[in-house]
């Protein structure tokens, strides 16, 4: 396991209760692990613990087989962290941001120009980062997090501020990194991103992991096996639901396929959002 967390608890100094209340999870090498939950659920706090920004936690956390409490700053040679907000040196150009940053590491680093190109960012552009759009800034933050060729990559809302084209590009980049053996810890409340990318998902609510499984298993677990058919009649578009666990309903479905002018047929498996709503009783935003 690349990450192993047991009974992780954390309380902010001036807080009255624990923000993290005994988290347990493991992440295998090359896995894209989605950490999902609403604002304030403890997602970002967990990421801050794992990136050693918050060192005073309780519980057992092992990363790369080492006790996180004992690792030193060379830990950062092996991880990459992309934040959910732009935190660049705004008076530097994109290349300068990467050039300065890469020199703080003790490991071989990526070519800044190649990284910029891979995320559709300008190479040789004399504009300072302050002049970039939010989407460009976020892609630069993402590029910077890969400069040291991390083995474990922390991503917090990686597609925030991106247009659909760049969101797809970022998802492809994440997938490519995972295929190359990089372990990804993805924090998000965007269920679509999680569904499309993650090998496994943990849903966190009020500091507790309520479920931890693959997106497919999660949806199947809460699936009611219902098919919705839309068909056209003289009165317009109508729809009817058929339960697949009920023989009468199944027979009615077969009959309807033959007798009606069918336009669409969809299974009504729940979305991850539905699963979360059922488990936590509230939405993700």
């Amino acid at each position: 396991m690349i990450v192993s967390v047991r009974d992780l608890r954390f309380r902010y100094p001036k807080s009255t209760g624990d923000v993290l209340r005994g988290l347990d999870f493991d992440i295998a090498q090359g896995e894209i692990f989605g950490f999902l939950g609403p604002n304030g659920s403890g997602k970002s706090t967990t990421q801050k613990v794992l990136t050693k920004i918050l060192p005073r936690y309780h519980g057992k956390v092992q990363v790369f087989g080492d006790d996180l409490a004992r690792v030193r700053t060379d830990y950062y040679n092996r991880i990459g962290v992309s934040f959910e907000f732009p935190n660049l040196h705004e008076k530097l150009t994109a290349e300068e941001n990467l050039e300065f940053y890469r020199r703080f590491f003790d490991v071989p680093t990526e070519d800044p120009a190649a990284l910029l190109r891979s995320l559709d960012l300008p190479v040789g552009d004399r504009r300072r980062a302050a002049a970039f759009s939010k989407g460009m800034k976020m892609r630069l933050v993402l590029a910077r997090s890969l400069i040291n060729r991390p083995k474990l990559w922390f991503l917090d809302e990686p597609t925030t501020g991106q247009d659909p084209e760049h969101a797809v590009k970022i998802r492809e980049l994440i997938r490519a990194q995972a295929q190359a053996g990089v372990t990804v810890f993805l924090t998000t409340h965007d269920m679509t991103v999680a569904d499309k990318l993650c090998d496994r998902i943990a849903l966190i609510h009020e500091g507790t992991i309520v479920v931890n499984d693959t997106p497919r298993n999660l949806k199947l677990r809460y699936n009611e096996r219902v098919v919705r058919m839309e068909y056209r009649t003289g009165d317009g578009l109508r729809h009817e639901d058929f339960r697949l666990d009920d023989d009468t309903s199944k027979a009615a479905f077969v009959h309807a396929v033959q007798a009606k002018h069918v336009e669409t047929i969809h299974t009504l498996e729940p979305s991850l959002e539905d699963v979360f709503l059922r488990l936590a009783g509230r939405g993700l935003m």
Binding site: I53, T73, L88, K91, R103
Partner: protein
């Protein structure tokens, strides 16, 4: 000097250049040279020049380092640096030591412009650099303690007032020993000796040594305060 410290210093100086800090220091230095040469009578220079030599890296140094910290805070760039192998001690050192270079050069240029090229230009550089380190450390501590610039301005008045107390003995308004515990006193003693061309090697070395001790203590204080307080900034970043 570690490789990371050198790179962090380069980063600090590049950010300062892009923010126009060196240009401000050099502009003030040029203006000061013109004023000293055109308007200040020769008999006043032994009093006025040390005051300026202390003021540019001293008081202005506090403000400039603080300005850089507030800029970083606005950009949240310190959060990005916190997830690299760069330690907070290395970063604070880069910020303080790097920020001290430009005011030292600019103020030594004033010494050169006002009293000409002689040994005093070389002798003024070490105390200038050390007082710039002390001021940078104070500026860093204050800007780390106060989250907003307006609070910093108010909060920095008492330390700057204390910092300025050695002007009393310098202008003969208090006994010479009164404010030996304040770092600026040692700097003013040296600048005064140089401006009057009355350099006593033992007094120069003793004051420089004391200033070095103060600079070391101020750097340690800034590193400690920064390490403690920046953790809070990161928690809520």
């Amino acid at each position: 000097m570690s490789r990371r410290l050198v790179h962090a210093t380069r980063l600090v100086m590049t950010m300062q250049w892009r923010s126009g800090f060196p240009q401000v220091y050099m502009g003030i230095a040029l203006f000061a040279i013109v004023i000293f040469r055109a308007l200040v009578p020769a008999e006043v220079i032994p009093l006025a020049l040390p005051a300026f030599l202390f003021g540019e890296p001293g008081s202005l140094g506090i403000l400039m380092v603080a300005a850089q910290r507030y800029m970083e805070r606005g950009e949240r760039s310190v959060v990005a640096l916190a997830v690299t192998p760069l330690t907070s001690g290395e970063y604070v050192s880069a910020l303080i030591l790097g920020s001290a270079l430009v005011p030292t050069a600019a103020t030594a240029f004033v010494q050169l412009g006002v009293q000409g090229l002689d040994g005093r230009v070389v002798m003024v550089i070490p105390p200038l650099y050390l007082i710039a380190v002390v001021s940078g450390s104070i500026g860093l501590m204050l800007s780390t303690l106060f989250a907003e610039f307006t609070r910093f301005i108010l909060g920095s008045i008492p330390p700057i007032a204390i910092y300025s107390l050695p002007f009393l003995p310098f202008f003969g308004l208090a006994p010479a020993w009164t404010f030996k515990w304040i770092p600026s006193d040692s700097a003013l003693v040296i600048f005064g000796m140089l401006a009057r061309s009355e350099v006593h090697a033992s007094a120069y070395i003793a004051s420089l040594g004391l200033l070095a001790l103060f600079a070391g203590a101020a750097w340690w204080g800034a590193t400690t305060v920064y390490a403690m307080r920046v953790r809070n900034e990161l928690e809520f970043a």
